[in-house]
Symmetry: C2
Subunit: 117 residues, 2 copies
Amino acid sequence: MELIFQDGLIPVVVQDAETREVLMVAWADKAAVSLTLETGYAHYYSRSRRKIWKKGEESGHLQHVIQIRTDCDADTLLYLVSQSGAACHMGYRSCFYRSLDGTILFDRMIDPKTVYI
Amino acid sequence: MELIFQDGLIPVVVQDAETREVLMVAWADKAAVSLTLETGYAHYYSRSRRKIWKKGEESGHLQHVIQIRTDCDADTLLYLVSQSGAACHMGYRSCFYRSLDGTILFDRMIDPKTVYI
């Protein structure tokens, strides 16, 4: 089906297919969606680095994509994934590890220094 | 904590606090976040209508917000909600009712014609 990209990008919500935890939100362009479909591993578009990146290319914490869903407006994607290791570059399982007042809600899974040098 | 709004808006992922189903993604401005905190019910900013709206104001399908989390970059919010009725204006429980190829994955919960006249 026809997806709607805004300025060439579409937001992607990433959910653990097993625990149903929301792991992260990232952005994808058409090429990143195609690469994800072709390889079975999540690829995104980095707005700051202005390039496509494969999730886990540095950390080894890949996301195997089990299913891709789209919303009613076809302008947002939901990736159900099998996440190896931590989704968050801060070492937490999910990027959503804090409440709005800054309280840390979960334990760190890994020390990010051991992954990103 | 300090949230990062882009062009005045921040994306909000909405997850059912009980079933952990991802229900929808919407946008909020500062005022919508404040209204959500003050009232306990989800408010968003409509980019097409250019105004704040209370989820369920027409349909009665309100979202009681149980917890608000933010991600590592503080530029995305996650609302854990208790959703009454259907989150999607198409009558599905979740807006993410289709796979990428257009297959409908879930049953309709309500006939949207009975809610939005």
